[in-house]
Symmetry: C2
Subunit: 236 residues, 2 copies
Amino acid sequence: MIRNIILASTSTLFGGQYLEYLKDELLIHFSGVKKLLFIPFARPSGISYDEYTNRATCFFKNIGIEVVGIHTVEKKIEAIEKAEAIFTGGGNTFLLVQQLYKFQLLDAIRNAVNNGTPYLGCSAGTNIGGLSMKTTNDMPIVYPPSFDTLGLVPFNLNPHYLDPDPHLKHNGETRETRILEFLSQNETPVVGLREGSWLYIKDDKITLKGNLQARIFEKNKTPYEIPPMTDLSLLK
Amino acid sequence: MIRNIILASTSTLFGGQYLEYLKDELLIHFSGVKKLLFIPFARPSGISYDEYTNRATCFFKNIGIEVVGIHTVEKKIEAIEKAEAIFTGGGNTFLLVQQLYKFQLLDAIRNAVNNGTPYLGCSAGTNIGGLSMKTTNDMPIVYPPSFDTLGLVPFNLNPHYLDPDPHLKHNGETRETRILEFLSQNETPVVGLREGSWLYIKDDKITLKGNLQARIFEKNKTPYEIPPMTDLSLLK
């Protein structure tokens, strides 16, 4: 395997510009790439595929990369097979996964990425890098035919991981409670990725990048923190 | 139709005891009831059915009502048909709905409640009162065979409705953004029920109760607030 994958918690840091905090990393990740295939199916806030693709285009033109939205391509599987690089944007994971099944794209993306096509996922695009989308934070606004996803890593991901707010007088579940509920029904470990963190996967090595710790949840274990640069290859 | 339904945002207010804030209402709602059928399938924080049923038992013994957990009954459909009253507790809506489909209980509950069996739902038990569970806040920890639910009201519900926190430096979607994403894909209106609010349904009349406003989301309309005692029968 010759893999090059970035799975980022978020596309945008609070107060920052779209993909700005990842720019140096992406210059290396996509070096030599002239044209990027963008998957806009997650439609954040319900914006159109064109609007969303335009947002990606604005960022990537600054680093000399052309962006093509997969919604504009008729032969979508072929587009994935021939793509120089693939970027799946954030938004609603249920919507994203429903569309990926509708066009039967999951196998094609998995094969391309496992054979070396550089991949970038943000938020929902990171959720689908895990074994399933069962640890997404999103609202189930549509019913996809399955929750199984790409499995680029042998665990699940929780992007936008959020620590409990001790001042909040609200009785909704904390993120940790939700992930522990997941572990009451599943064996798969979960990596809680705080905003500003990403996983970098080179071949089979999985490294936590960014300045923040990540929180790891495993069945029948107390959740624990890991520092940046930890290798997560053995978590499964 | 002779219906008596309470759909509450939460079972417990911040700093309060289980069901305490609803006690006066429940004394009337369940007056004459000697035995209540409890549906513990949502398993908050992954607790067992027995533990969860015990929590309900502790509250209801104070108002002279015996509680039977449906998990202890072999003939579950018959138990629903014969129940004096039904209470579905909160927790994870995906888990709840998966179990309701597994035992084929949705039709039985709908029939019983529409024929006069008093019903109480809290949180996940309120979500299933809507047309679908597509506006739950919960994590999709299991894959139910459908998102369709009881449809005791002609719209969807969002329990634990939470206003945006202007101080939060986090890029995850607000509750309002999530519900607007739902409306980009669905026609069904959504009632955002803040903690401390509940809907009281008497026959076909649907009244907002408690001291707080609720937030209404309709397709192609700006979300708006409604005061307590508003009749929601015409929202569809």
